[in-house]
Amino acid sequence: MTKFDTIETMKKVNSVVAPAGHETPVAEIFMELARPFCDEVYRDVMGSVIAHKKGPGKKLMFSAHMDSIGFIVTHIDEKGFIRCHNLGGIRAANVVGTPVKFANGTRGVFLCPSDKTLTDLTRVSEGYIDIGAHSREEALERVQVADVAVYATETYQSGDMIFSPYLDDRIAGIILLKALEELKDEKVENDVYFVFSVQEEVGTRGAMTAAFAIEPYAGVALDVTRTGDELGGKPRMECYVNGGAAIKVVDSSLVCSPALVAAMKDCAKENKIKWQIEVLEAGGTDAGSIQRSRSGAYAGCISIPTRYIHSPQESCSLSDVEDCAHLAAAFAKKALTF
């Protein structure tokens, strides 16, 4: 029985407010959860958590970003309404009516001004958050400029799917924890760094500096990817929930190293892990930053097919999560031969 129940662990990591650039609260949780399963765990200058499981072979870096998208306060008006800027990609019109929470427990909702329509709402800064304050002074007692907020939506299971905010990319952090647990009493042949990176949502920034410090021979990002089976059929993409761990070939941040992709497919086949291929036309991952750090590294990605990415309720398959964890563990264990 795993220590890391997907739903319960997701609730735990989502209990804090930790959007891009403000990851400390979630970093502390991941550090505590990873510590029993690795040789050392530390944070780097940018704040990424690095869990090191030593092995005799080449350096292999996994990267799952622990930051979420969110809001940062820019201005509080005379009536106590709060203006924000987005941290990462938020489509303002898609999140109108979404409940949000601040680190100190303040609750509120993101709204569209009454003199605007949803189509006018092209930027988060054109909407506002109502925290139930009636004046600037009252609002300032609870919220300051530069404070951050995140979606305050629920995590739950429905059918064989998990619905939650911030599966992107905390589900991948949980997958790394599961892989670490699976490897608990095992010797790994590679020298493995499990990185819970920061600031992916604002441009894969944390993986860049972490990779510079670690100097991996190969890097594998774990991140959510889109699926081809949402209602409406777009994007046209042959990657499906319940289709197994998705092995990335390309996204807009990198073309995965063919040798690594081949090794990962072989690894899945040898270990009878359900897998599928992923070709993503848009979106980037930490793998792009890792690939081009210093003099370059082999790079690829294990993706979790996920619906409604960046919305307040993303959804993915619980069995895909297990497949991804098994694949990461198996890939960490066996010596890289490319």
């Binding site: 780097d44 008006d77 800027h85």
Partner: protein
């Protein structure tokens, strides 16, 4: 300080043509007995020895300014040009410029109003539709004064006016250069590094290599930033206001400043009675992003001057803000003694 800012604002330093600014700074720094190193890109890196610091601190300011580059000379002797850096085409029509090191006077011309129909007047002309008139009556005459690849800079002398305001070109970022120079010349006796960077306005290109060389633990960028305290801007779009003190941003499009360092600077300002304002909008990028991620990671912050009509020949800033910016930087440095 004011005289230094004014002097710096008369020097040409269009991106990649920073020579005049660099030469001026180098002479001052060497007169002070500090070593100044010019790297391959043209960044000027200065180490000022002093009492041992707790960490390696670097201050950064960019020497370059927005301007133009000559792309072609017409048969009639007019100069075609392209903007260098982010220039709003609407502000350049009819403005005076000087071309190249010879400072050939010129004016940005466009078809006269009498020759333009009503419809065309509603459209903002593109740089392609404009030209620089240097009074030459043939291509040959023009060639005696300039050539393709030459730069053109705004021709605008500093003027003090109104309630302690300064109008000048290139306050972004000669205010930063002046602050760094003053720190070197009369700042606290603490070991620190100073990077006068190139090519910020075309994509923060110089700062990364400077950071890679210096490897600072913490870097403070001193910058000019957009002030929006003008009649048309809504309250939440005013960004910051000249005269209200040093501007502390919590993020920009290039970097999220670590909250601890942002708070530390706020604390220093409050403790020492230094006027400051938190920037209430997120826009633009600075050297901070490139510095943060050039190696294994640097803690970054920015101290900015609120500048109206930034990137125009007539930037407007408040003279007393300069003192607040210097004092905040100096107090931070003072606190770095081991």
């Amino acid at each position: 300080m004011l005289e230094l800012v004014k002097k710096l604002c008369t020097l040409d330093g269009v991106s990649s043509f920073e020579d005049e600014v660099r030469d001026f700074i180098r002479a001052r720094v060497e007169a002070k007995g500090c070593e100044a190193f010019e790297d391959a890109m043209g960044n000027l890196i200065v180490h000022r020895p002093g009492k041992e610091a707790k960490q390696r601190v670097m201050f950064a300011a960019h020497m370059d300014e927005v301007g133009f580059i000559i792309t072609d000379i017409t048969e009639q002797g007019y100069l075609k040009f392209a903007p260098v850096g982010g220039i709003d085409t609407r502000v350049i029509i009819g403005k005076r410029v000087t071309v190249g090191e010879k400072r050939t006077p010129g004016v940005i011309g466009i078809k006269a109003v009498h020759l333009v129909n009503r419809e065309a007047r509603k459209v903002v002309p593109k740089p392609d539709d404009m030209y620089i008139d240097i009074g030459a009556d043939s291509k040959e005459e023009a060639r005696k004064l300039t050539e393709q690849g030459d730069y053109a800079a705004f021709d605008s002398m500093p003027v003090e006016f109104g309630d302690g305001m300064l109008k000048a070109r290139a306050i972004d970022d000669r205010i930063g250069c002046a602050t760094l120079l003053r720190l070197i010349e009369e700042g606290p006796d603490v070991d620190a590094w100073y990077a006068f960077t190139v090519q910020e306005e075309v994509g923060t290109r110089g700062a990364g290599p400077a950071s890679f060389r210096v490897r600072p633990d913490t870097a403070i960028v001193i910058e000019g930033t957009t002030a929006g305290d003008i009649p048309e801007a809504a309250e939440h779009e005013k960004v910051c206001r000249p005269g209200k003190g040093a501007v502390l941003p919590f993020m920009d499009n290039s970097a999220i400043y670590p909250p601890e360092l942002f708070e530390e600077l706020k604390g220093i300002a409050e403790k020492n009675g230094i006027n400051y304002q938190v920037k209430e909008y997120v826009s633009g990028g600075t050297d901070a992003g490139a510095i943060q991620r050039a190696h294994a990671g640097t803690r970054v912050a920015a101290i900015s001057a609120a500048v109206r009509y930034i990137h125009s020949p007539s930037c407007v800033a408040s003279i007393k803000d300069f003192e607040d910016i210097y004092r905040l930087a100096a107090e931070y440095l003072k606190g770095q003694v081991k």
